[in-house]
């Protein structure tokens, strides 16, 4: 009865919130429902025949969730995932209620994929028992909100301790993530075995052994602190991989690699997305899908068809010009995008937008940890916008960019016009916005009819 009442209240709240146009109806219904029936989330979660997949970590959650959904759908499963929602507990409740029938006795799906912010993990695992928990990687991100990286790892650890029944899928190449194995005994690792190396020499987020504090030795480093590492002092090392990629081929617009699962099944993965970080996303996805028993052929076919997630190398046609949206939100992600743009040596036209609202991180210091230096001699033009445009221009000056190519314009519609005027028909403008700047830009593109929806 409680559940019924909770669901009806939530449905009412969602309708009311949408009608009053005060909200998108994503969190209030769940908040009310949780107040009436605190067990609503666990009750609804149990109705999913194939269970719940939780994806957490700094980078790659959205793309991985999107790739996984398309594989599972291709295998005939009905998938629900929180693509547009708030990923707090009440957002998850709201979302499940929306997918459930009138009485809350059934859910319109076989399996749920949830991307969860690191800090929300303990709250969620208190209420649901996920079938699989995935940790993609841990990089510095919006530190002013979460505190520090070690604390983030400890928070995830406490969530893992509370989920002894879940299978844990960890990025073995990330020492901070692989060290989470101590919290749970059903652990599987994924990672890369390849000769590819990073050009970046900059700050590494986690270079020291978590067990003993000695400096880790890298046989090979792929990017940031991801790579093949070992501790010379206590023996902590990159674990044996259950799922791996090798024979990597990286291009600006697409990537290829050979996937190998724990039963030595092989498949050549081709994805229409650039950059090593997207191959990591494809690997993570393939590992989850294999863990769920999906045929390797289906994985291979579905991945080939996946297009970019919201703002992740999303291509938008503007008359005869193209803009390519590349969300940047932390130093490692920013450096990765820069490295990817450098795969071909042609001079690029860039449009950088730096905001410092809450969702961007209110501290803009992080741009000094991104290696803008790598692309300084490969830009034809740069337009800089956003609330903290001056900080970004300053960063470019000290990275050694030629100031003649740089213009600053804090009015975003004008800045977009300026940036588009820099490129000829048939050329691509690479747009690197922080999160809220991307939303603003999409709004502009939406009102001009260049994108169909404001959210995915």
């Amino acid at each position: 009865m409680l559940r019924f009442l909770a669901i009806q209240t939530a449905n009412f709240a969602r309708t009311a919130s949408r009608l009053s146009q005060k909200g998108s109806g994503t969190t209030l219904p769940g908040l009310l429902a949780e107040k009436i029936d605190p067990n609503i989330l666990s009750n609804l979660a149990q109705k999913l025949p194939d269970g719940i997949i939780l994806i957490t970590g700094t980078n790659g959650k959205t793309t991985t969730a999107k790739m996984l959904a398309s594989i599972l759908e291709a295998s005939g499963k009905k998938v629900i995932y929180n693509s547009s929602g708030s990923n707090l507990s009440r957002g998850i409740s709201s979302f499940l209620i929306q997918q459930s029938n009138f009485f809350g006795s059934k859910i319109k799906g076989d399996i749920a994929i949830f991307e969860i912010d690191e800090a929300t993990m303990p709250e969620i695992t208190k209420k649901v028992i996920p079938k699989i928990i995935v940790v993609t990687n841990l990089f510095r991100d919006q530190l002013d909100r979460y505190g520090e990286l070690d604390k983030t790892a400890a928070i995830i650890g406490s969530a893992l301790e509370a989920s002894p029944e879940s299978t844990l899928l960890l990025n073995g190449d990330d020492p901070l993530v692989s060290s989470l194995q101590k919290y749970n005994h059903k652990v599987r690792f994924f990672g890369i075995n390849d000769q590819i190396k990073t050009n970046s020499t900059g700050a590494i987020d986690s270079k020291y052994c978590l067990q003993c504090g000695a400096e880790l030795i890298y046989d090979n480093r792929y990017f940031g602190h991801l790579g093949v590492y070992k501790c010379p002092s206590c023996g902590f090392k990159r674990p044996k991989l259950d799922y791996q990629l090798s024979e990597l081929k990286l291009q600006v617009e697409s990537s290829k690699a050979l996937f190998l699962d724990s039963n030595r099944n092989k498949a050549l993965l081709e994805i229409q997305l650039p950059g090593l970080y997207n191959l990591y996303n494809a690997l993570t996805t393939s590992a989850i899908a294999s863990e769920l028993g999906i045929d390797i052929k289906i994985i291979q076919d579905s991945l080939q068809k996946v297009s970019a997630a919201f703002g992740r190398m999303e291509k938008i046609e503007i008359n005869s010009k193209t803009i390519s949206l590349l969300l940047v939100k932390n130093p490692t992600g920013f450096t990765q995008v820069i490295e990817m743009l450098c795969y071909d040596k042609k001079p690029k036209n860039l449009f950088l937008l730096l905001n410092d609202k809450f969702a961007d991180g209110t501290d803009v210091s992080w741009i000094w940890d991104a290696e803008l230096e790598l692309i300084k001699d490969q830009t034809a033009s740069v337009v800089v916008g956003g609330i903290r445009a001056e900080d970004m221009v300053l960063r470019l000056k000290y990275a050694g960019f030629s100031l003649d190519n740089i213009s600053i314009e804090k009015n975003t519609p004008k800045a977009l016009d300026l940036a588009l005027a820099n490129i000829r028909d048939g050329e691509t403008l690479y747009v690197l916005p922080t999160y809220t700047a991307m939303l603003e830009l999409r709004k502009i593109l939406y009102s001009s009819g260049f994108v169909k929806g404001l959210v995915e």
Binding site: E148, V364, S365, V393, K397
Partner: protein
């Protein structure tokens, strides 16, 4: 090329939070643009360091784990660093680095991590985190900077430092350490909007990230002037650079600090 300077970057791998690397970049570029050769030497845990050849030492902020790892190594170097600081070695220490250059840091569990006592101050961890844009007024404090030592005084027209603070430690200054400045906007050492940072001789400590030096070019130049004077026993008149971009970023930070709310969570 003019005679050069040497910067010792202490523990770059452990103490590299919040873009503090930008400070090194700023010093390097501002020297390079004036044909002064600035050599940067990275010193990791256990590495030998020749502090006699150092003109500037830099120590940034770190995570708690980073901090514990280096505290011990820093203690071994304490006497050598102190000896040089007494003779006017220029030091810039930020956030965790500032704390470790104090007497001690008391963790939230009540443990005391000993610092090297350059600054007469101690830090106590608090539950609340002090986060936000900061504007510091140095007009009053600048006359007390390095009062104990005969070095060129700062005489420039700029009177503010801007940056971003993000710390949970509260730092209390003793009598032997002067504040870097007083807050116009922000929470500062004690979280009460009073004073910011600490100065002893030519050693400066602050909570300002941002990065600090690129956005406060006059302060970067002042550190270079002090280092040059100590090494070559004469005042250098640094070539004037076009700082339009630096000044506009400085001003934009002030504007943003006035509109964006400071968080204390």
């Amino acid at each position: 090329m003019k005679p050069g300077l040497t910067l010792v970057h202490l523990y770059p791998d452990n103490m590299n939070l919040y873009g503090d690397l930008g400070n090194i970049v700023a010093l390097m570029m501002r020297c390079q643009w004036r044909n002064i050769n600035l050599e940067v030497k990275k010193v990791k845990i256990g590495d030998p360091a020749n502090l006699k050849n150092a003109d500037i030492i830099f120590l940034g902020g770190g995570q708690d784990r980073g901090q514990k790892n280096i505290a011990q190594d820093l203690l071994i170097r304490r006497d050598k660093i102190r000896e040089e600081i007494e003779k006017g070695l220029v030091a810039l220490t930020i956030c965790g680095g500032f704390q470790l250059f104090g007497q001690y840091f008391q963790t939230s569990e009540g443990d005391q991590i000993p610092g090297i006592g350059i600054f007469d101050c101690h830090t106590i961890a608090d539950q609340k985190r002090l986060i936000g844009n900061v504007v510091v007024d140095i007009e009053k404090s600048v006359n007390e900077w390095h009062a104990e030592i005969d070095f060129p005084k700062y005489k420039g027209p700029e009177k503010t430092l801007v940056g971003f603070e993000n710390h949970s430690g509260k730092t209390f200054l003793g009598r032997g350490c002067k504040p870097l400045g007083y807050l116009k906007i922000g929470l500062g050492n004690q979280g009460d909007g009073g004073y910011e940072g600490g100065v002893y001789k030519n050693a400066f400590g602050t909570y300002l990230h941002g990065s600090l030096l690129p956005k406060n070019p006059w302060f970067a130049d002042f550190l270079i002037t002090l280092a040059y004077y100590r090494r070559y026993k004469k005042e250098i008149s640094l070539a004037k650079l076009n700082d339009t971009i630096e000044t506009s970023a400085h001003q934009a930070t002030i504007n943003r600090a006035e509109t964006a709310k400071t968080l204390s969570i």
